[in-house]
């Protein structure tokens, strides 16, 4: 190993292209003339001079993230418009007129299941359930989490302790276990799955949001801005929000992936979506006893889950890299 070829990412990898400004990105807030923290406004890095423009620019360069985005758009469109094309070209997901347990063929690309449903159409319709749960459940978590996180972070003190202790109680339960018990109590159903996953998701979001708020609150420049007479409102919007929003976007995207897996797991255990509604998890549960004669029943629904969640994870990763202003190219 060459003594010259030092470890990648060493401190001197930052090649001296620009004279290193000691404050990092020195950009100023027009009103207060104080340095605004990196990412909160303009970043003098590339041609695009706003945070969002710059982020989009960087996101576009990330091929994996774009692939994820394309897949998500594709599958969402396919699911939403399913009624238009699936029964016409394939079959209705609930029609049982076909022979059961047919292996994949031209007519049934994914085969048929025990009851005679066309698996392909069930997979497409199953996307509806998964995407709906993913987005709505995360939506619920976001609403609860953001409000509680904001209250907790901004007001501190006893309120903060109370909210955080409650979050700790939620964290003490292993996720799947808690979800199963919750659904056992609420009664397994499509609607209750939203609620359960939504409820279980708020603590993480609250924590992330709260810590963003705290780190910005404690930063010296907000004190300085205060000293200059900037109002609370201005501080919240101009300084705290931009920094706090980015991690939420990233976390939210990843959470949708997590919610989709959660729904699949719960339906697999029979605690979620009930038959005959097609759900990927439910389909896998049915496939268990038929693994030997009909492996295709296992492969395709699972594959659908994998690709969809992967798309969200890649997008989330991409967003994180794009929004992370500390990363220089």
């Amino acid at each position: 190993m060459s003594a010259d070829k030092r470890l990648p990412n060493g401190p001197y990898d930052r090649t001296p292209t620009e004279p290193l400004d000691p404050s990092g990105h020195a950009v100023r807030d027009e009103a207060t003339q104080l340095p605004v923290p990196p990412g909160a406004g303009e970043v003098a890095q590339s041609a695009n001079r706003t945070l969002w423009g710059d982020a989009w620019f960087r996101l576009r360069k990330n091929k994996l993230a774009i692939a994820g985005l394309i897949w998500i758009i594709f599958i969402t469109t396919a699911a939403v418009t399913a009624d238009l094309w699936v029964p016409k070209f394939f079959a209705s997901p609930t029609s049982t007129e076909f022979a059961s347990l047919e292996p994949p063929s031209a007519e049934h690309p994914f085969g048929t299941d025990r009851v005679g449903h066309d698996v392909f159409s069930r997979v497409v319709y199953g996307a509806r359930v998964s995407l709906a749960v993913g987005i709505l459940a995360v939506g619920i978590s976001l609403v609860i989490g953001l409000i509680l996180g904001a209250i907790s972070g901004y007001y501190g003190g006893l309120t903060d302790s109370f909210v955080m202790r409650t979050a700790d109680v939620f964290f003490a339960f292993p996720y799947t276990l808690f979800a199963v018990v919750l659904l056992a109590v609420l009664g397994p159903s499509y609607r209750n799955v939203f609620i359960a996953i939504g409820i279980l998701g708020w603590p993480s979001i609250a924590r992330v949001f709260r810590s963003s708020i705290l780190s910005v609150k404690e930063n010296e420049y907000t004190d300085a801005a205060h000293a200059m007479g900037a109002s609370d409102f201005r501080i919240m919007f101009r300084h705290i929000m931009p920094n706090a929003v980015a991690p939420i976007i990233v976390y939210g995207t990843m959470s949708i992936g997590g919610a989709i897996i959660a729904e699949a797991a719960l339906s697999f255990l029979g605690m979620g979506v009930q038959p005959p509604t097609p759900s990927w998890g439910l389909m896998l549960s049915d496939a268990r006893s038929l693994m030997i004669p009909a492996p295709w029943l296992t492969i395709w629904p699972g594959f659908a889950i994998l690709t969809t969640v992967l798309a969200f994870v890649l997008m989330g990763d991409g967003l994180r890299d794009a929004l992370d202003v500390k990363l220089k190219d």
Partner: protein, 323 residues
């Protein structure tokens, strides 16, 4: 440092109470579907005397808060109640199933540690090479993969197809623990359970190593003339490992929760599966008891992890500056 431990212990108490509160609340008649008396006795006809006896035993006529107090009291005595379906103490049932889950979780942690840490380090030190890229890709895929699906695929491939292709010679068992329990039966479930966690560990290890090798003290170490091996495995690794160890500790909790899925898929006779079956049979004492025990273990493990983090990082262990 002792103050830190004390504080954490104190914090645990309200959380534990919160947990018991939630579980108790779920038990309140009205919350749970079905007549509580019916739940206990099943379909058999219930005489008034029996009804009175059950009400007495389960304190069903007392005010709610008092029932809660009874509940916590019995918990503190280690009494988790009696199963509705089987005529046994919950503690009995659980202590039978627990070692199996522990065995599974332990195997999973070993796999996770070994493969996760190793691939993470290699990935960081050989950044952007084929190895690194393939590790990043495969960890991304594993993170997105549903655990139970992975289990089923394992079963199909290693249990069924492999058997077909080798005419029955080579295959791995796909169900149960074996009688008497053996390693063969442990392999597939352990790998399945460990898979996602291994991916996380590799990722965290990689990013921690990358961060560590970017630090100034690495430059100092190189300026002293140390070899790359020493610099990476001594100076960088010791710093990078601390958060990873923390994660692995916390992961134990995640494993215990995820076990319910793996155990179901592989028919592994552990606590997770027991709870799942009990849910199906509406055997609430078993469900509650199982959950409480798992939660307790997770909390204790998290506490130990927190403390060991404080102990491992000299900046926390020996506070503040001298002059």
């Amino acid at each position: 440092m002792l103050k830190y431990v004390g504080r954490r212990l104190l914090q645990m108490i309200p959380v534990f109470l919160g947990v018991t509160l939630i579980l108790f609340a779920l038990r309140i008649p009205g919350f749970l579907p079905g007549d509580p008396i019916r739940l206990i006795t099943g379909e058999k006809p219930v005489s008034d005397a029996l009804r009175a006896q059950i009400e007495e035993e389960y304190h069903l006529n007392e005010p709610i808060w008092k029932q809660y107090v009874y509940y916590v009291q019995s918990l503190l005595h280690g009494d988790l109640g009696k199963s509705f379906q089987k005529n046994r103490d919950v503690t009995d049932i659980l202590s039978e199933k627990f070692p199996n889950t522990i065995r599974l979780a332990f195997a999973a942690i070993l796999i996770e540690c070994f493969f996760g840490i190793l691939t993470g380090i290699i990935s960081a030190v050989r950044q952007y090479t084929f190895w690194d890229v393939s590790v990043t890709l495969s960890t991304s895929i594993l993170v997105a993969m549903p655990v139970f699906w992975l289990g089923m695929l394992m079963q199909i491939f290693f249990g069924i197809k492999l058997k077909e292709w080798t005419g029955g010679a080579i295959y791995l068992p796909i169900s149960g623990m074996g009688d008497p329990p053996d390693i063969q039966h442990l392999i597939l479930p352990a790998i399945t359970l460990a898979a996602v966690s291994t991916a996380y560990v590799a990722r965290i290890m990689r990013s921690q190593m990358l961060e560590a090798t970017g630090q100034d003290y690495i430059r100092t170490a190189e300026a002293k003339g140390l070899s790359e091996r020493k610099v990476v495995f001594k100076h960088a690794l010791k710093n990078a490992l601390i958060p990873v160890v923390t994660f692995i500790g916390i992961d134990l909790g995640i494993l215990m929760g995820g076990a319910i899925l793996t155990e179901t898929v592989f028919s592994w006779p552990g606590v997770g599966r027991e709870i799942y079956l009990a849910v199906g049979q509406r055997d609430w004492p078993v469900v509650m008891g199982g959950v409480i025990i798992i939660v307790l273990i997770v909390m204790v493990v998290n506490l130990v992890v927190d403390i060991s983090y404080a102990w491992l990082d000299p900046r926390i262990r020996y506070g503040g500056a001298a002059e």
